[in-house]
């Protein structure tokens, strides 16, 4: 027996360590059916009713705790989902806008590929940034200007957002009338001051498509003796130097004639819906453009054809348009309008 307290403590400590190690060794080395494991299992058996009872007693509290925790997490989850929903809604709107923009640009690209434009024409896609505030005028402002190669009197075409793969919904929009460095004003063909030399496909009947305050397009100066049927397509004739030929304008929607007038009055339904235009293309035609099948003689009554001295210059009085032709090409230049 140790004499002092310190030695006694040390002895017990060493004994406990040895006992622990012995237990550990026996426990590891012994098979599961050995006496140490049997004692352990007996201990578990003794304690298990207590644990079972405890678990049963604790269950309502545990359920309450779980409920509160679930409620809290559900609340937090709802907040997260609401935030996520808001973000996704924003993204969905953005994607929808982008999809619509893509469709519009695809329409323009399609028009560029399928339309008939003079060789070497460059296409400058521009975004519509403003529209005329009153019906007295019909114009749009685009975000491209002289810095982008835009000049006055350049034809502008467009496509209605929901235009199909065919050329319907795609057509002439107007022409640039004033240009700044980074923007340009485009006079729409529906403007009351707009005049576009046009012809009806198939019949080769020519006339002038004019705008009006109501936004209605009318093709004037069509000879009353010529037969014009509804649903025929009206395209630019190319006269005047601003609009290249064969750009679709619209379809004949109604044909009227008065006894006192020498001309038919042809109402034209434009291909392009001017109310929903968001992107357009400005046609940058080379100064000397080759326009095939261009005739220097015109049979349009009322548009007096003057050929001066065989030099191939055709003038359309009243319209201020001059068409100069050579043997292989025709150069168009505006004379006042």
């Amino acid at each position: 027996m140790p004499r002092n307290k310190v030695a006694w403590r040390r002895l017990i400590f060493v004994v406990l360590i040895i006992a622990s190690l012995a237990l550990l060794t026996v426990s590891v080395r012994q098979a599961d059916s050995g006496p140490v494991h049997a004692i352990q299992q007996a201990g578990v058996s003794m304690l298990s009713p207590l644990q079972t009872w405890g678990a049963r007693a604790a269950k309502p509290f545990q359920d309450g705790y779980t409920w509160i925790r679930t409620l809290w997490s559900a609340h937090k989850q709802a907040e997260d989902l609401a935030a996520q929903l808001q973000q996704l809604q924003g993204e969905a709107v953005k994607l929808r806008e982008e999809a619509e923009e893509n469709a519009r640009l695809k329409g323009l690209l399609d028009f560029q590929e399928k339309g008939t434009f003079p060789e070497g024409t460059q296409f400058k896609v521009a975004r519509v940034i403003a529209k005329s505030p009153t019906r007295w005028e019909s114009w749009i402002e685009i975000d491209k200007g002289s810095a982008d190669g835009i000049r006055e009197d350049q034809a502008v075409v467009g496509a209605t957002p929901n235009a199909t793969d065919s050329l319907s919904g795609k057509g002439l929009v107007g022409k640039t009338v004033s240009v700044t460095a980074h923007s340009a004003k485009v006079q729409l063909i529906t403007d009351v001051g707009s005049s576009v030399a046009a012809k009806i496909q198939g019949y080769r009947t020519e006339g002038i498509v004019e705008g009006s305050v109501s936004g209605q397009l009318t093709m004037n100066y069509v000879d009353r003796d010529v037969r014009v049927d509804p649903k025929l397509i009206v395209v630019t004739s190319g006269y005047g130097g601003v609009y290249p030929p064969s750009i679709p304008i619209g379809i004949v929607s109604n044909v009227g004639e008065e006894d006192v007038s020498a001309y038919k009055e042809v109402e034209v339904q434009g291909f392009v819906d001017f109310r929903v235009l968001e992107e357009v293309m400005v046609l940058i035609v080379p100064t000397t453009a080759t326009i095939p099948s261009m005739s220097t003689t015109t049979t349009t009554p009322g548009l007096n054809t003057v050929t001066s001295g065989g030099n191939g210059v055709t003038t359309l009085p009243g319209l201020g348009l001059t068409s100069t032709t050579s043997t292989t090409s025709t150069t168009l230049s505006p004379t006042g309008r």
Binding site: W8, F13, A19, L24
Partner: protein, 179 residues
């Protein structure tokens, strides 16, 4: 003197029962950061703090036995660990004097971490070789902090109900050099 010792043994037995109940009913079901507190280890620490190294070692041995039994672990592993914990905590208090809240926190935390480290080494040597270092971050440190936080109120409660006595300067002086 013997009567006093017997009273302490009775209190220790009561502590065991309470520990088993609390560990089974409450602490094993309350997990914070994925870890649960180990009441047997905490009680070993506070007994070592309040009663000294001998009582701490004996209490630790028995607490380890119960721990291994309840949790179906190799009998003797926690006995060995808790004996060391109880003994060294008691020795620390005897040598360094009165106990304050920070000392309890640090001793309980360090003891918990050391106990888990030793147990982890044993597990690593004997059982499936789990990612030992990953366990340090996900299990050992969080549980050490959790145990340290719980040790403070438990120690205060046991001192208040006079199961333990807080070591004072006089006891330190008396025990100085005696471990």
């Amino acid at each position: 003197m013997l009567r006093k010792e017997l009273r302490w043994v009775g209190k220790a037995a009561l502590l065991f029962v309470i520990a088993v109940i609390l560990q089974s009913l409450i602490l094993s079901r309350v997990s914070i950061l994925g870890v649960t507190a180990d009441l047997f280890l905490i009680l070993t620490v506070v007994v070592g703090l309040g009663r000294g190294s001998l009582e701490g070692a004996v209490f630790g041995f028995l607490a380890g036995l119960v721990h291994d039994t309840i949790y179906f672990q190799i009998l003797g592993v926690h006995s060995l660990i808790f004996v060391l914990v109880g003994y060294f905590v008691g020795m620390f208090v005897t040598r360094f004097g009165t106990v304050n809240l920070w000392a309890i926190f640090v001793l309980a935390g360090v003891s918990s971490f050391a106990a888990q480290l030793v147990f982890g080494v044993v597990q690593f040597a004997m059982g499936p070789r789990a990612a030992f270092f990953a366990m340090v971050g996900t299990q050992m440190i969080p549980e050490a902090v959790f145990d340290a936080l719980i040790a403070i109120p438990i120690y205060a409660l046991l001192v208040r109900v006079r199961i333990l006595t807080a070591p004072g300067p006089e006891k330190v002086q008396a025990g100085a050099g005696a471990e």
